[in-house]
């Protein structure tokens, strides 16, 4: 641990009301700590006022009605994996959860934190994008629901106002016949940050793809939907056309984890693998 804790403040919120009050006063939320504490350890945490929201019961609930899952922001990766309905009906998200860090991280990291921290390499966003998720933001001013597709505005930026907390994530319950695919490529199989992660799902009429959703992480400043590639697939276009369309949807960079060219190649390979999986689900 580098540096001194003297300047930092960590207060505890017991209720959602208290959490919203604190956030309105300029405190930032700390839940599982898997992002914030890394910065603290390395002496890179610049914001000093933090509110521990991990004990706020209202943010922990997972509910399911006939049409929708509501996952509280504090739902952990382990919580997704062990929830009998979520793990069965949202396989892309469950797979993303199982590939995020190791067990110790999965026990602590939360969905709200994963999207709120807004890393472009995060593992759950492509799954949530492909599901057409919505995000409920809460503040003292009330609640509002935004499509997850509009949540990320730029690198590490979201539509959440400084006084707003991610409260819940809403996902429609799945069609039983849908084919799901999620694959993450990192430097090694476990406990690694993604170079590229890819989520896709499709509904088929016999051999024809009736509807398809594709989203990727690690290949642009924000997680991206590949809408043009989706349309090309539904129109029955040849792979080259779909591949070109996917190429236009992404804008990977060269950085410490990979190169732009490698990420493009991997994204294309994952597209091919996804389409093979759609044609022959195992």
């Amino acid at each position: 641990m580098r540096g001194d804790l003297g300047d930092f403040e960590l207060v505890t919120a017991r209720t959602l009301r208290e959490a919203c009050d604190r956030v309105a006063e300029g405190y930032r939320p700390l839940a599982g700590g898997t992002d914030v504490m890394v910065l603290l350890s390395s002496g890179k945490l610049t914001h000093t006022k933090w509110v521990d929201i991990s004990g706020v019961e209202e943010l922990r609930q997972v509910r399911a009605d006939e049409r929708t899952f509501e996952m509280g922001a504090l739902t952990t990766y382990t919580g997704v994996r062990r929830h009998p309905l979520l793990s069965r009906e949202l396989p892309m998200l469950a797979q993303a959860a199982s590939e995020t860090g190791g067990i110790a991280i999965q026990n602590r990291g939360t969905l709200g934190g994963n999207i709120g921290n807004a890393s472009p390499a995060a593992d759950s966003p492509p799954a949530l994008l492909a599901y057409g998720a919505e995000v409920v933001l809460v503040s003292r001013r009330g609640e509002r629901t935004v499509p997850y597709a509009t949540f990320h505005t730029a690198y590490k930026r979201t539509v959440a106002a400084p006084d707003e907390l991610v409260a819940r994530i809403l996902v429609s319950r799945g069609d039983p016949g849908r084919v799901h695919y999620y694959r993450k490529v990192g430097p090694r199989r476990a406990q690694a940050i993604s170079k590229v992660c890819f989520a896709g799902c499709a509904d088929r009429d016999g051999a024809r793809v009736r509807d398809v959703k594709i989203a990727l992480g690690g290949v642009a400043p924000v997680p991206v939907r590949a809408l043009e590639a989706e349309r090309a697939i539904v129109a029955g276009e040849p792979f080259e056309r779909v591949s070109e369309a996917l190429g236009r949807a992404i804008a990977p960079i060269d950085d410490v984890r990979s190169t732009s060219a490698y990420r493009r190649r991997v994204a294309d390979n994952l597209l091919r693998d996804f389409l093979r999986h759609v044609a022959h689900p195992s």
């Binding site: 350890s41 860090g101 110790a104 476990a190």
Partner: protein, 161 residues
């Protein structure tokens, strides 16, 4: 922000270190409670050397602000042995060469403990997943997996008796 007592239980004993609420659980264990069995590797949740159990759940103690374990039960490597008598997993690591330099060993053993508590008959895939968050730079992992397999077998025999 002022230090304040944080009440918790560590290896079955009630403790109340007077610390900053954002202090890392790892530092509280090592520096305030002088339980230096828990190691620091990377300090960013990548290596698992600092893994402990909180209410039976595996966590990286470098990523846990101590205020979040108020009222909870923390189990560290010091809580594994019963006096001079080592836990089955500890003995298996000794017998099968699962420990070399020793820095990763406490985290490995806690991760293995969590696996054995969670999965009734863990297979090799379960072991690989359970230890995926723990990095070892000495053994090449094979002897660690062998140690855990042996511990699984011994615990099963122990329960059957």
């Amino acid at each position: 922000m002022a230090d304040a007592p944080i009440e918790l239980r560590v290896n079955g004993v009630a403790r109340a270190p007077c610390v900053h609420p954002m202090r890392r659980l790892l530092d509280v264990l090592r520096e305030d409670l002088l339980l230096t069995g828990t190691k620091e590797g990377c300090g960013e949740g990548e290596c698992g050397a600092c893994a402990v159990l909180v209410d039976g759940q595996l966590v990286d103690s470098c990523l846990v602000p101590v205020v979040q374990v108020r009222g909870r039960e923390v189990t560290t490597i010091e809580g594994m042995a019963d006096g001079e008598s080592l836990a089955v997993i500890q003995q298996a690591f000794i017998d099968h060469g699962g420990a070399q330099c020793g820095i990763c060993t406490p985290g490995m053993i806690l991760a293995a403990r969590e696996l054995l508590d969670r999965v009734s008959r863990p297979g090799e895939a379960d072991i690989r997943e359970a230890l995926a968050g723990n990095i070892c730079r000495c053994t090449g992992y094979t002897r660690i997996f062998e140690s855990v397999l042996k511990a699984i077998e011994l615990e099963r025999v122990g329960r059957a008796r």
